[in-house]
């Protein structure tokens, strides 16, 4: 039976969590510097348990200060982008929607660039904060223009988001054209999406938004299913569509804003992970949302690891990997779709 039950959700979540743990382990043991496999695991586990940690200072630093926090951050962002992508696809009733479609990302980018031009470094906590504020302002602006007769209309929202996003892109281009060389390079790498620039302390700022947003959105999962059938159907079935749209829009945007402010615009994840999850597990949001979160986390951690090791010691931007590997994999999923629908 394909019906989604609590048992099913827990089972699938457990399996995907195992996958995620495996990917995290890989991320911690692989890198441009060779740290022996067993030693890496040892260092990680020992530090979690407390007590003496083996390895040299350098090796410890690589595992505990570089790879592990970066993997966790990538996982959080991957989960965040995937969940908000799924929610926007439901909110806008559009399979082509991704977390950036409503302009939040452009707002975050403008915030980050302003912060950079003001002299804040990417390693500071100030830059993600300003970026986040930029994103929030955009969210409110799009909401203001996206309403019709005081209600949120998906099409008007989409239009407002795209227009404001385009306008902000023009602002970004303007900043790029007047930038000096030094800042220019940083801006461009930020726009491509990158975890090497992120300060691991931002973990603690991103985490509550992603987790909080996830919980709020998940509680609406059943209503999201109904909303996929259109506003009329949802109203007929007693769903408070206006409230649902507002909650989804705000919290999905919040998750996106938190994610983007920390590492820039990583593309593809928010679009294909929900689709991939849907192809495997079906469209029911009660399984789709946790599945997207876990698969998205694994996917982004894996992509980031590849970005680090593919051309070592040179690092590639992670957005290149998500596009190059994500795209063909997704096409493969589409081809084999009829035989899928596991469990």
């Amino acid at each position: 039976m394909t019906l989604v039950t609590p048992k099913k959700v827990i089972l699938i979540s457990a399996l995907l969590t195992l996958l995620l743990l495996g990917v995290i382990l890989l991320a911690v043991t692989l890198g441009s510097v060779r740290v022996p496999f067993r030693l890496s695991i040892q260092i990680l586990i020992q530090s979690i348990m407390g007590g003496n940690v083996s390895g040299t200072d350098t090796e410890q630093a690589i595992i505990l200060s570089l790879r592990f926090p970066r993997a966790i951050l990538a996982g959080l962002v991957g989960a965040g982008l995937s969940v908000s992508g799924a929610v926007f696809q439901a909110l806008l009733r559009n399979p082509l929607a991704d977390p950036y479609i409503l302009g939040v990302s452009s707002g975050a980018a403008v915030g980050a660039i302003v912060a950079l031009l003001l002299g804040l470094s990417t390693a500071s906590l100030g830059l993600p904060l300003v970026s986040f504020l930029g994103a929030l302002m955009t969210v409110l602006l799009v909401l203001y223009f996206g309403r019709q007769d005081g209600k949120i209309h998906p099409n008007t929202l989409l239009l407002a988001g795209v227009i404001i996003g385009s306008f902000l892109s023009a602002v970004i281009m303007f900043f790029i054209s007047i930038s000096q060389r030094e800042e220019l390079r940083t801006i461009i790498f930020w726009l491509m999406g990158d975890f090497s620039l992120a300060n691991p302390q931002t973990l603690f700022t991103v985490f509550p938004y992603v987790l909080g947003g996830f919980v709020v959105v998940y509680l609406q999962a059943r209503h999201l299913n109904v909303m996929l059938f259109g506003e009329e159907n949802a109203l007929q079935l007693g769903v408070n569509v206006e409230r649902l749209r507002m909650i989804c829009y705000l919290f999905a945007s919040l998750i996106t804003a938190a994610s983007v402010s920390v590492c820039g615009l990583i593309g593809f994840v928010g679009l294909i992970v929900p689709h991939g999850s849907r192809l495997i597990f079906g469209p029911d949001h009660r399984i789709l949302i946790p599945a997207s979160a876990l698969i998205g986390a694994s996917f982004l951690i894996a992509s980031d690891t590849l970005a680090r090791i593919l051309l070592a010691p040179v690092e590639l931007p992670v957005g290149v990997i998500t596009a190059v590997f994500g795209g063909p994999f997704f096409i493969y999923l589409l081809k084999t779709r009829k035989t899928m629908k596991v469990l």
Binding site: V4, P95, F229, N233, Q236, L237, G238, R286
Partner: protein, 257 residues
């Protein structure tokens, strides 16, 4: 059961419905007929409070609809729309279970009682065998019946149908209408059906409401409403009206010019 009091509605300029009043008795089967643009669909939308009339009121068992919460309305009134665009392939059972939504509130998962009610609804509509099939794999007629099952899962007292027989083959039309009639007569499910097809409305409904330009032109038994004069006045078209040889209900026949 439903008391419609002098409602008037407009979208932007121009009243779509003007000063419409009528009563629906419990257990009746009402047919809503009239030309395109006369306000049939709008009236249905107002009946389940998707739209709110600018003037007038609708009372359900003496309580105004606008004072009822959406879930409360959904537990009493169900609607089967004309067309539903399927965006993602849910299964038939999942769709029918959505009918339980007004009863679930904040709960995320359906209980076994909900499953039971859904199963019964699907049995009545003979769609239980389609439970696991995706909605984009079933035929038009089967899809219609699945949506009726969903409406039934809401355990409503009133069901609204919008052009339910369009695009259905006659055997599906017959099955569908038989089902509705059985639900109406044997389970006391009050039914309001908007239809282009006056003969079907005449055949199956107790009462007809003939709308014209947003006003009620005639309301009453089919014999009273379906007359040559009324049809000519409302549609501007001359027809021949006689009686159905088996049931005796009035039917119209088009005349060549």
């Amino acid at each position: 059961m439903i008391d419609v009091r002098s409602i008037s509605f407009r979208y932007h300029q121009g009243w779509v419905l003007q000063d419409v009043s009528f009563r629906i008795q419990k257990g009746s089967f009402i047919g809503l007929i009239g030309p395109n643009g006369s306000g049939k669909t709008t009236l249905l939308k107002i009946l389940y409070h998707h739209l709110s009339p600018q003037q007038g009121d609708i009372l359900f068992d003496q309580i105004p609809l606008r004072k009822m919460s959406r879930p409360a309305i959904a537990k009493r009134i169900a609607m089967v729309a004309q067309e539903t665009h399927i965006l993602f392939p849910f299964t038939a059972l999942e769709v029918v279970l959505m009918g339980r939504s007004p009863y679930l509130g904040h709960r995320l998962f359906e209980s076994s009682k909900d499953l039971e009610i859904a199963r019964k609804a699907m049995e009545w509509t003979e769609t239980f065998s389609l439970s696991e099939r995706a909605m984009d794999e079933v035929s038009g007629g089967e899809r219609k019946r699945i949506f009726i099952a969903r409406a039934l899962a809401q355990e409503p007292e009133l069901i609204l149908l919008d052009e339910p027989t369009t695009n259905l083959d006659i055997h599906h039309q017959r099955d569908f209408l038989d089902l509705i009639l059985t639900l109406n007569k044997e389970r006391g499910l009050t039914t309001v059906m908007a239809s282009h097809d006056m003969n079907i409305a005449s055949e199956f409904c107790d009462q007809l409401i003939l709308l014209c330009d947003g006003k009620i032109d005639r309301m009453g038994h089919p014999e009273e409403v379906i007359t040559r004069e009324n049809i000519e006045r409302v549609y501007g078209c001359d027809v021949w009206v006689d009686r159905h040889p088996v049931s005796g209900a009035p039917r119209i026949h088009l005349l060549k010019k």
